[in-house]
Amino acid sequence: MTLKTRKRRATLVFLGAILLYVASVFLAAWLQRAVFTAGAAHGLVAALPVIAVVVLVWATLRLFMAGDELERRAAGIAAVATLVLFSTITLCWGILEAMAGLPAINPLWWGATALATWSLIFSLVFRWRYQ
């Protein structure tokens, strides 16, 4: 299998995993609101997206491994930069949320923003640093 084919397949699986995660979050929220409104099932349903997260992690690793050595390096640099950036921002936000009354932000928004930031940093590293 060529590099291009491997990357195309891994990207499709990754996008599918993202869709699965988003769908599982909305499904869990709907089930909690409309079907299991109380009891142990109410709590268990909240763990539904965890299964999708496992799939998403697997798909992310697959996408990472599908690239060649330079793409893997750029992806690694972008992942570390995103992690540092988002740990700092979320930590500061959390403190300000507790002490200064900043509004709570939906975790879905954080996830989507982190992914967009990673993509942006990856492009910058790959094109400007290595091309």
């Binding site: 590099l3 690239g67 060649d68 050595e69 330079l70 793409e71 290595y130 091309q131």
Partner: protein
């Protein structure tokens, strides 16, 4: 690290894409190596040497900082 990849490739009249396909890497990786912006991993360097039928030292030249 300096390298003669572009010269060796040109001698064989290969495009960056041809070389990339032979090595199983992307064209961008070949471009980055040729421009000296990226030093390839050892297995890739060995594969390049095999492909050009020469020693690694004939392609790459180490430059101390």
């Amino acid at each position: 690290m300096k390298n003669r990849l572009k010269v060796l490739r040109a001698e064989r009249d290969w495009t960056q894409q041809t070389l990339a396909d032979e090595l199983g890497v992307s064209r961008q990786t070949i471009n980055a190596i040729e421009k000296g912006k990226y030093d390839p991993a050892l297995p890739t360097a060995f594969r390049l040497a095999q492909l050009f039928k020469c020693q690694i030292e004939d392609i790459f030249e180490f430059e101390a900082d």
